[in-house]
């Protein structure tokens, strides 16, 4: 008695062959999913109590990052400005704008605005802004083109592979200290060479190597050690 149809042989072979591809696809899909904005929130603008536009304040008006984020050069935390900082200008301009009512309310009551954190690292990671700023890592290296963000979003995935990309070779990203807050900084290239301390650079890696030495960066072994970030 035949239990199975003749076609079963073909189906069986196709299944065994196909399962290899299916498993490979599932693995690939999981890996892609874990890096997708659905998980990392990269490039996803977060709602805020006031739709504050970095594009307008930084890009159009030209405020320096440190005008609001005052502690970025000397503290681990860059600092969120108090309402008073907003009121420096907004006690003079846009006095009646309904969009700014929460700011005025906060000023009147003395209760801080509650912003939604955008660049949020896990609690098991130690991160210090000042060391990065003082060793020549530009704001937009990590935060992206903030001067073109109508609403704030995180540029990077903030996953460990992203951190290690720089920590394993900081020469790829390091820039002169004078350029750290320059939102439109361009690394040196053949068409746009850069002069620094009387030396002409046409390659980021050459510049980076010199800066790593000049700024006394710790060795790669040091800055990729587990306890550097997981303290």
């Amino acid at each position: 008695m035949q239990i199975f149809h003749r076609a079963t042989n073909t189906i069986a072979k196709a299944t065994i062959f196909g399962s290899i591809f299916l498993l490979a696809f599932i693995l690939w899909a999981c890996i892609q999913f874990q890096r997708s904005p659905y998980v990392t929130y990269a490039h996803v603008a977060r709602p805020q109590p006031v739709p504050f536009s970095h594009e307008h304040h930084v890009g159009a008006i030209g405020l320096d990052c440190r005008y609001c984020h005052t502690s970025v050069e000397k503290s681990s935390f860059a600092g969120i400005p108090p309402t008073q900082t907003c009121m420096n200008c907004h006690s003079q301009i846009w006095l009646g704008a309904p969009m700014l009512e929460p700011v005025r309310a906060s000023y009147r009551s003395g209760k801080s605005l509650v912003w939604n954190r955008v660049n949020d690292l896990p609690d098991f990671v130690y991160f210090n802004h000042s060391i990065h700023i003082n060793k020549g890592i530009g704001c937009n290296t990590c935060h992206g083109p903030v001067d073109r963000m109508p609403l704030m979003y995180n540029e990077a995935s903030l996953q460990m592979e992203w951190c290690l990309d720089c920590h394993r070779d900081p020469a790829k990203y390091i820039r002169p200290r004078s350029q750290v807050f320059n939102m439109r900084y361009e690394p040196p290239s053949g068409s746009k060479p850069m002069e620094l301390d009387g030396k002409l650079y046409t390659d980021q890696l050459v510049l980076g190597k010199d800066l790593v030495k000049q700024y006394n960066l710790r060795t790669v072994a040091d800055i990729t050690s587990c306890s550097t970030c997981h303290r």
Binding site: I3, F4, T8, N9, A12, L27, I31, Q34, R35, S157, Q159, M160, E161, L164, D165
Partner: protein, 459 residues
């Protein structure tokens, strides 16, 4: 390929199979165990008890997931506790199955033919029990896959210099090869089951598992090549897996762990406990399923002799460990030796020496080797002894460190016991299901032992 090695002249050994069987009678007898034998009260009762114990384990594991490893008695300095004791114990038990099925296959020992199937099943279930422990011992078991090297978002490999990572590879390779080897060995018998089944759906299930086996000469020729190749692949695993497990300890600098004799004596200990488990299973199975014709006193006696031999290798290991402790002159190593005999865990160490070395010596008497009752008791004794051995290695070594400030004691909690005893329930429940659903002794390999099989071969 398979040659029955008959009893050498002048020797007084039982045959590997009782006389009077034919091709048909073997098939009928074994397939009836699954197909026509009704669900007996004994089976239901036994399975129900094991299943209850399994539920107890699941309860303990849920609590462990919820609360974390703090529900166990582990703490610094004894961070490993029961989880690693049980892991090493179970993985060791699995080794006998692979030894029987792979090494004895390559050595053409015909007496392997009736016990290899359930010994391999035992290996699989033991590896499953063993694999649970290191995973649940992780603080966050749900990310166990971090142990494998895969393109993760941390851009990090596991630490390849750590023996714990070697363990992952050794055990997962072992589990995979054991499963494939067991399944390939089942294929011809699954086809036999398919052809003997009455109901359509049973035919369909066995038919799917039999992968279209038609018993043609071409099938057999390829099958035997594949089986031999798998046997060759599995053979080094018998030695390598427990060697790697022993590295978990030997690579560490803890006194009592840091010794080069660990790999050989772990492997011997694994086979020692594995054969004990084979006997603990074989003796009731042959009695309750009336398989005395196929699992003869020859099998029991041979297994007992393997235990006697490996037991002496283990004894040699203990002796040389103690000797090197003394010979090395290191004060911490000497303290280990003193502490085992005089420390707070001294009763456990003395019990270990009794169970593993002293009591099994009665196996020198042939009467004992042929007595089902005594063999069963000694096998149980060896299983306990080998568990104690791992307890002594893990706990007694850890509880007295280099510094008095890191001295401590280990007290297992109810969750330690629940998960340990629970795996025994899991293991036995799996064996019950296996006996119910699959041919527990290989039909086709038994048939090849018949004189008729050899006559055909010679033509």
């Amino acid at each position: 390929m398979v040659q029955a090695i008959e009893v050498e002249p002048g020797e007084n050994k039982a045959p590997v199979m009782a006389s009077g069987h034919t091709f048909g009678s073997i098939t009928d007898k074994v397939s009836a165990m699954v197909l026509t034998r009704p669900l007996t009260k004994g089976w239901i009762f036994g399975f129900a008890i094991c299943f209850l114990i399994l539920q107890w384990m699941l309860y303990a594991m849920c609590w462990l997931f919820f609360k974390g490893v703090g529900v166990w008695g582990v703490n610094i300095p004894i961070g490993w506790g029961f989880a690693i004791v049980n892991f090493v114990w179970w993985i060791g038990i699995g080794h006998a199955g692979t030894l029987i099925s792979a090494i004895l296959l390559l050595l053409r020992q015909s007496w392997r033919n009736s016990i290899n199937r359930f010994a391999e099943a035992m290996t699989l279930f033991a590896v499953a029990c063993a694999g649970m422990f290191p995973i649940f011992h992780l603080g966050r078991p749900w990310v166990f896959y971090w142990l494998f090297p895969y393109p993760n978002t941390m851009n990090y490999w596991p630490n390849f210099r750590s023996p714990l990572v070697w363990d992952v590879f050794a055990v997962s390779t072992y589990g995979t090869i054991s499963l494939v080897f067991w399944f390939v060995g089942l294929i011809p018998d699954l086809a036999t089951m398919r052809d003997h089944a009455e109901k359509k759906w049973i035919k369909t299930v066995y038919g799917m598992l039999a992968l279209g086996w038609r018993n043609s000469t071409r099938h057999w020729s390829r099958y035997e090549t594949a089986y031999l190749l798998l046997g060759g692949l599995a053979t080094p695993l018998v030695l390598s897996v427990h060697t790697v497990v022993s590295f978990d300890f030997a690579i560490g600098i803890v006194p009592g762990w840091h010794t080069t004799i660990f790999p050989p004596y772990f492997v011997a200990g694994a086979i020692y406990s594995g054969f004990a488990m084979v006997l603990v299973l074989a003796i009731p199975i042959r009695k309750f399923y009336h398989l005395e014709d196929f699992i003869t006193p020859r099998h029991l006696e041979n297994s007992a002799m393997v235990m006697l031999a490996t037991g002496w290798i283990v004894a040699y290991g203990y002796a040389f460990e103690a000797f090197m402790n003394w010979f090395g002159g290191d004060q911490y190593e000497s303290y280990v030796r003193w502490n085992r005999i005089h420390g707070p865990y001294a009763p456990w160490y003395i019990a270990l020496l009794m169970c593993n070395i002293l009591i099994p010596q009665i196996l020198w008497w042939r009467k004992v080797r042929l007595s089902n009752f005594w063999l069963f008791m000694i096998s149980m004794d060896i299983l306990i002894g080998m568990w104690l051995e791992r307890f002594v290695i893990v706990v007694v070594s850890l509880h007295r460190d280099f510094l008095t400030s890191s001295f401590g004691m280990y007290y297992p909690t109810q969750f330690d016991w629940a998960i340990f005893i629970g795996t025994l329930g899991f293991f036995t429940a799996c064996m019950f299901l296996f006996l119910r659903l699959l041919p527990a002794v290989p039909i086709f390999e038994l048939r090849s032992l018949l004189p008729e099989a050899k006559a055909v071969e010679h033509e």
